[in-house]
């Protein structure tokens, strides 16, 4: 079922034009976390283009993208799938009560060597 408003919002947040995609699958082939994702980078592109976004919003795949820019670097059409994944993630966490990571979750995850970088980046990716 196409959700036009949501699709427009995702396209605006991401700045991505999924219609540039030529379906070569290189983004998913090169994704280092392919095995851990229910929906793969090429499916984000395809499903956003079709307006089929709710399944993506409900999927664990939003949290398993490593933000490594491999798909952005290697897309021969500069579609930049990671930007779409981030936009869908933002559509989820920007909603009231939508934060995926909460400050009270942090103490249990700490160890003596964990760099601050891990914490600040997790908040940037998973909370608003």
């Amino acid at each position: 079922m196409e959700n036009t408003n949501l699709k427009e919002r995702i396209l605006e947040i991401s700045g991505v034009n999924p219609r540039k995609c030529m379906k070569c699958g290189k983004c998913s082939a090169t994704c280092p976390n392919y095995d851990e994702m229910e929906y793969h980078p090429h499916q984000f592109v395809d499903m956003v283009e079709k307006g089929n976004i709710e399944p993506l919003m409900a999927s664990e795949s939003l949290w398993t993208c490593l933000s490594c820019f491999a798909c952005v670097e290697r897309c021969p059409r500069s579609v930049e799938p990671a930007k779409l994944i981030e936009a869908v993630r933002l559509a989820v966490i920007r909603a009231q009560g939508g934060n995926h990571l909460k400050p009270q979750d942090i103490p249990d995850k700490l160890d003596d060597e964990l760099p601050q970088q891990a914490i600040v980046s997790a908040f940037r990716k998973y909370s608003k």
Binding site: I13, N33, L66, E73, Q116, Q117, A118, S121
Partner: protein
């Protein structure tokens, strides 16, 4: 040679080695790294969303401070480098971002990406020169087989980072050669170690980091070097490979004979 220097949050805490060995090495090479006053954390991940301004402002403040100081801006941490350089690109190329940031910060003078952001490795390559660096080495690391690890952040996206060939880089290899050691050429040097997943799903971070470190070991590495505190953590703490990982600046300080002073 005087530069503004952006150390970033982790270099003040868990990654002090990355910072202090860099400072000692820079001093030995006659480079002045002036830490920016009142810098703020970059946030660790570049915000890709077109409609986000606030998350980019700490980078913009650092970039403007360097411009006002009349110097290039040197970064040390891969993540800071990636965030600052990509935000700088936005400020130059995206009128919407530049205008909103200027309004938000009430800038007297517009900022459109004038500051040159360089990683310390680039400074060594382009300003000092690896030939000159080689001459300054007093304790060459002869015979040590070192795996250069680029990870995801130093090189990508290549069209913005402009650091080195993102698929076939040579800068860390040549840095290792300048120190007298032998670079190991291996497949996963620019594959992500999965470090960002360490708080989300630790088993992903463990699996990816182990695959990366195992690949370096299989190619004969005795040691791996990185510029990223999160990679170092992930490749030592989460990987099951036992391969030692150090910051590139520690090796530099060692080869320059200033490690003990740092």
């Amino acid at each position: 040679m005087t530069y503004s220097y952006y150390p970033g949050c982790t270099l003040k805490t868990k990654a002090k080695d990355l910072d202090r060995y860099a400072r000692a090495s820079a001093a030995a090479l006659g480079i002045e790294l002036r830490e920016l006053p009142d810098w703020q954390c970059c946030g660790g991940v570049y915000p890709m969303a077109k409609d986000e301004i606030a998350t980019k402002l700490s980078s913009v403040r650092a970039l403007i401070a360097a411009r006002d100081a009349g110097t290039d801006l040197v970064t040390m941490c891969s993540a800071c480098h990636n965030v600052l350089k990509q935000v700088n690109h936005d400020m130059a190329a995206d009128e919407n971002v530049a205008a909103k940031a200027a309004n938000y910060m009430k800038l007297d003078e517009p900022y459109r990406g004038e500051t040159k952001v360089i990683h310390f490795l680039e400074l060594l390559r382009d300003e000092v020169g690896f030939d000159e660096l080689k001459k300054r080495v007093v304790k060459p690391l002869t015979g040590v087989k070192i795996a250069p690890y680029y990870g995801c952040l130093l090189l990508r996206p290549g069209r913005v980072m402009g650091f080195d060939d993102p698929e076939n880089p040579v800068v860390i290899e040549n840095f290792i050669r300048a120190l007298g050691a032998t670079p190991v050429i291996w497949a996963m040097r620019n594959e992500c170690c999965g470090g960002y997943a360490t708080l989300e799903k630790k088993e992903i971070a463990e699996k990816k980091a182990t695959a990366v470190a195992d690949n370096a070991l299989a190619n004969g590495a005795q040691l791996m070097i990185t510029a990223c505190p999160l990679c170092l953590y992930n490749l030592t703490k989460n990987a099951q490979s036992g391969l030692p990982v150090k910051y590139f600046t520690e090796l530099l300080a060692e080869a320059l004979g200033v490690k003990e002073d740092a």
